[in-house]
Each structure stands twice: as structure tokens, then as C-alpha cells.
């Protein structure tokens, strides 16, 4: 039926792609295998045990750290979505004197590496913004605002681009009976931009959940995220590989679940900068 040479070529492609799958999934297989072995079984290379999970619960306040991760991530994502949707609406549909310059300045924020600002940021958050009853440093709010400041430039860019694509007629029609800007934003813009908001939220969720540096510097040990907790455990004196792998699975699982559900949004956000 088909050109046999072409069939062979396709079979060869299939084999190559399978090899790549092995290379890409192998670390996951290693993680799972190691996590279900005791330390001795890990060394000898066979067996099954749940010791590592018990050990993990003993050595690491996993539950507290998962709660911390959830609070920090949810807080950052909510703050980013709020400021970027409002900002996107302003830049795309309302405008003000100098709004395009301000928009460009915010976009330029994407080019600032975290490490370039981390020292003054650390000093500001731990000293300047940490006086009286208003304490940013060490607890959730400090880490959340830093994450939000780092994530918002791209989110604002994405939301502005999305809102520019919404026809202005639609807004006019919906405010004929005296809607305020706030109502337009809430009743028209937000519902219409659910796909874009989802993309922003998914990208930022993975970004914040997986981050180490900000959590390491801005959160006290008692409120550390799971990612920070694992990194610290890794660099500690006693290293138990099965325990670390159990912890890795636990920390990776939420992000993997989000990834599997929202793969499409993730890809949309990623290729946003080039496909238009």
C-alpha cells in the first residue's frame, strides 16, 4: 500500500522518539523506585519498603511545608492575577497620559534578573519595610509581594495583549445602561478573559511552587515551602536518598497535576511571545 522505504523511515522515527522518551522519563522512574525502598534496599538495589515515607515525615515537617507552599503560591497567584488583569484593562482599553511609556517600563521589568535585585530587596524587606506592626520579613506577605513583583510584568503583558483583542464594541454594548468602569471590568472583561487568566495562573503557579531563592531568603525556617525544605535537607549533613526522593515526589506532584490538567494553557503562555 505504502512506499516501503517510507514505512521503514517512520519506524526508525518511532524508535528514536521512544529512546528520547526513555531519556526524559528515566529520572521519574528513578525517583519512584528509590522512594519505595529503605536505605539498605536502595544500596543493594532491590526490594520494596515504605520506610522512606515514614522517615520523611520524621525528618521534615512535610505537612507544614506543603501548607506553606500552598499559601505562598496561592497568595502570589491571586495578587498577580488581580494586578495584571486590572493593569491589562487599563493599558489596553482605558489609557491615560503616558500609559504607553508606563506599559513599556513594566515590560522592561521582565529583563531584570532576580539575582540583580535580590540584595537590596532583601535589605528593604528585612529592614525598611519591617518596622512597627508592619512586618514583611520572614512571613508569607514578604515572599508573596516579591514573587508578585517578579511575575507581574509578564502577566501584565499577557493580559494587555489579550484585552487588546477584545472588540471595543462589545464593551460599549454592555455599558449602554450606565455601567461604570468597575462594572465593565468585572462583568465583561474578567469573564471574557478566563482563558488568559488561566494561562497566567498556571504559569505563575509552577514558577512560584518550584522556586528556591526567594523562599530561602524571605521565609523563616518555620514557614519554609516544601521546595526550600528539600533543598536544605539535601545540603544537610545526613543524606538519605530514598527519603529525598519521597520528598521530591511529594513536592513535584501538585505541579505535575496542574501541568497535566492545564497543559494547553501552559503551552499557550509559553509560545505567546512568538506565535503572533
Amino acid at each position: 500500500m505504502r512506499d516501503p522505504r517510507r514505512a521503514i523511515a517512520r519506524a526508525a522515527m518511532f524508535v528514536v522518539l521512544c529512546v528520547v522518551v526513555v531519556v526524559m522519563l528515566f529520572p521519574f522512574a528513578f525517583m519512584i523506585q528509590a522512594a519505595f525502598r529503605s536505605y539498605d534496599q536502595y544500596i543493594s538495589g532491590s526490594g520494596f519498603s515504605l520506610d522512606s515515607w515514614a522517615g520523611l515525615l520524621r525528618d521534615l515537617p512535610v505537612v507544614q511545608q506543603l501548607v506553606s507552599s500552598t499559601i505562598v503560591t496561592a497568595g502570589s497567584v491571586v495578587l498577580i492575577v488581580v494586578v495584571s488583569t486590572a493593569g491589562g484593562f487599563a493599558f489596553a482599553k482605558l489609557g491615560f497620559r503616558g500609559s504607553s511609556v508606563v506599559f513599556l517600563a513594566i515590560l522592561a521589568g521582565m529583563m531584570i534578573p532576580m539575582q540583580s535585585i535580590i540584595i537590596p530587596e532583601f535589605v528593604n524587606v528585612s529592614r525598611v519595610f519591617n518596622v512597627g506592626g508592619f512586618r514583611l520579613y520572614g512571613s508569607y506577605p514578604g515572599a508573596i509581594v516579591v514573587y508578585a513583583a517578579l511575575g507581574s510584568p509578564f502577566a501584565t503583558y499577557l493580559m494587555t495583549t489579550y484585552y487588546r483583542g477584545i472588540p471595543t464594541e462589545l464593551l460599549e454594548a454592555s455599558v449602554m445602561d450606565g455601567g461604570s468602569y468597575w462594572q465593565i471590568f468585572r462583568k465583561v472583561m474578567l469573564p471574557l478573559s478566563v482563558p488568559a487568566i488561566t494561562t497566567v495562573a498556571v504559569l505563575q503557579f509552577i514558577q512560584v511552587w518550584d522556586d528556591l531563592l526567594v523562599g530561602l531568603l524571605f521565609l523563616k525556617p518555620e514557614v519554609r515551602t516544601i521546595t526550600v525544605g528539600l533543598a536544605v535537607l539535601q545540603t544537610g549533613r545526613t543524606v538519605n536518598v530514598p527519603e529525598l526522593m519521597a520528598g521530591s515526589i511529594l513536592s513535584a506532584l501538585p505541579a505535575i497535576v496542574v501541568y497535566l490538567i492545564f497543559q494547553r494553557n501552559l503551552i499557550a503562555g509559553l509560545t505567546m511571545g512568538v506565535s503572533k
Binding site: M13, V21, M31, V83, A90, L94, Q263
Partner: protein
Amino acid sequence: MTMIATPAADGIAAARRGSPRAGGRLQASQRRAGIAFALPVIALELVFLGLPIVQAAYFSFTRWDGITATWIGPDNYERLFGDPTFLRVLENNLILLAAVPIAILIPLLVAYLLNEHVPGWRFFRSAYFLPTAISWVVIGMVGLRFFAAEGILNHTLDAIGLGFINTDMLSGELSAMIAVAITFIWSVFGTNTIIFITGMATLDREVYEAARVDGASAFTTFVKITIPMLMRFMQFAFILTLITAFTALFSLIFVMTGGGPGYGSTTLEFYVYQQGFQVAVFGYAAAIGIVLFVVVFAISLIQLRIFRSRLD
């Protein structure tokens, strides 16, 4: 004007007509709303991104311990460029730079194969993209076990009878950096593959059919059609990968090598952290951070130029 005039409707209508002066008082209310809606993001970015980058620039000219800063002019920068460790660190960034073309080329080839839609290609695509969801901490932890002396790589080599090339990669300066670079290539593979698949989906299949009818080989079509038509996507992937290499590997290095042995795998971004939070010379660390900022900014400007030149 509209029959039922609301400030919102008039303002937006005026904006659509492209006449910013039209609407008078109504236009002013829209401007005020614009400022109000933009204010949260402006305030957030000013205080937590704009302020610290200006401070970093200022403090890079001082001796600073976090409380008192003494102005010392360009001393930090002079010291930096005479610092052999800094030059060593720059070399490590060059190794990462050298890894970028590999991190582009492999995904390009694999995307080309995926685009042929052999059975199971959707599964392959998801599997390749999966590491994107995993933190650098977890990737580093597995990477560490992979390259360790008693690790997976050496065990595998033993098992297939190649035990004689066993090496303890993480104990040598250059080899540790190469191990980090390989792990980095693995990590960005999925992202770049997705970018190229997206790019290939935009290509005209008829061009391929025509090439096939003309008897062009797969290799010829790849080099003569796919690559030139994907230039935009390759540039995007290149810049994204390069910026990732220079600014996103802190956690990977922290977990895998701690920057060592010696300064063997310390890159610019890691050097900022070491000097700032381990040595605690804030002014000096700020100067390193500014160098990193200038490098990243320059890369981004090149990208902007490329994009603009295409629009013209």
C-alpha cells in the same frame, strides 16, 4: 454620541475612534479610571522591582553592609575585573553559552520527527514536556545521583561493559560544570521542543509536498525549508534558553554542586548569592548583580532588534 451616554461608554467609544482629545470631561473620567486600574501594578513594580534595581546600581558604587554604605566610586568594578574568581565565573557562563546551541538543535530535530505524526506522537509530546513542571531542586537532586561517583551513569556504564570510562564528574571543576550543563540541556528540552512544534504547525504543508514531488530528501527539506522558515522560532528559543541558562539555574547549582568544586560550577547568578549571603560583601555582590543585569539586558535588546527588523 451614543443615545444613552455613560462616562464609560463615551470614553471607550472615543478611544476607539482614536481621538484621545474627544470627549472632554468624559475622557478625563476614563483617564482617571485608567490610572486607578493601573495603579496596583505600577505601585507593586515601583516598590519591589524598580526601587531595588536603582538601589543595586547605587550600592554597587559603595562599600555596604546592609546598614551603612560608604561611597567608593567604581572600586567594586575595578576589583571585579581584576578578580581571578570573577573571570573563572565568566568562563562558566561561557560553557553554558556553548550549551545553548545543543539545547536548541536536539529539540529542533526531535520536533521535526514529532511533526511527522508517527503513532503515539501526542504521548511523546506530553512526556517530553513533563520536566517543565518539575522544580530545579528536584531536577538537581536526581542529576546529583546521576553523575555521582557511585551514581546511575557509572553503574550503567559498568553494566554495559564500559566501566573503564567511569568518571567522578562532580569532583572535577570542568566536568562538574559540564554535568550542570548537560542537566540544563535535559531540562529545557521539552520547552524548546514545544516551541518548535508550534512553529512547524504554522508551516505550509504544501511546500513540503512540493519538495517531496521534486524528489528532495528529508535532510534537504529539513535544511532548506524547515530551518529557514523557523528562524523566528529559533531566535525566540535561543534567547529564552540563554536567559534561562544565565538567570534560572541558581537552584540547580545550589543542589547539585553548591557552585563547586572550588568555583568550578559557580556562574554569575550564583556568585551574586555567594558574595552577598555567604561572604556578606553587599556592595561587591550588587556590582556582580549589575553586570548580570547588563548582560541579560543586552541579550534582550538584541532580541528586540531582531523582532523589529522583521516588522520593518
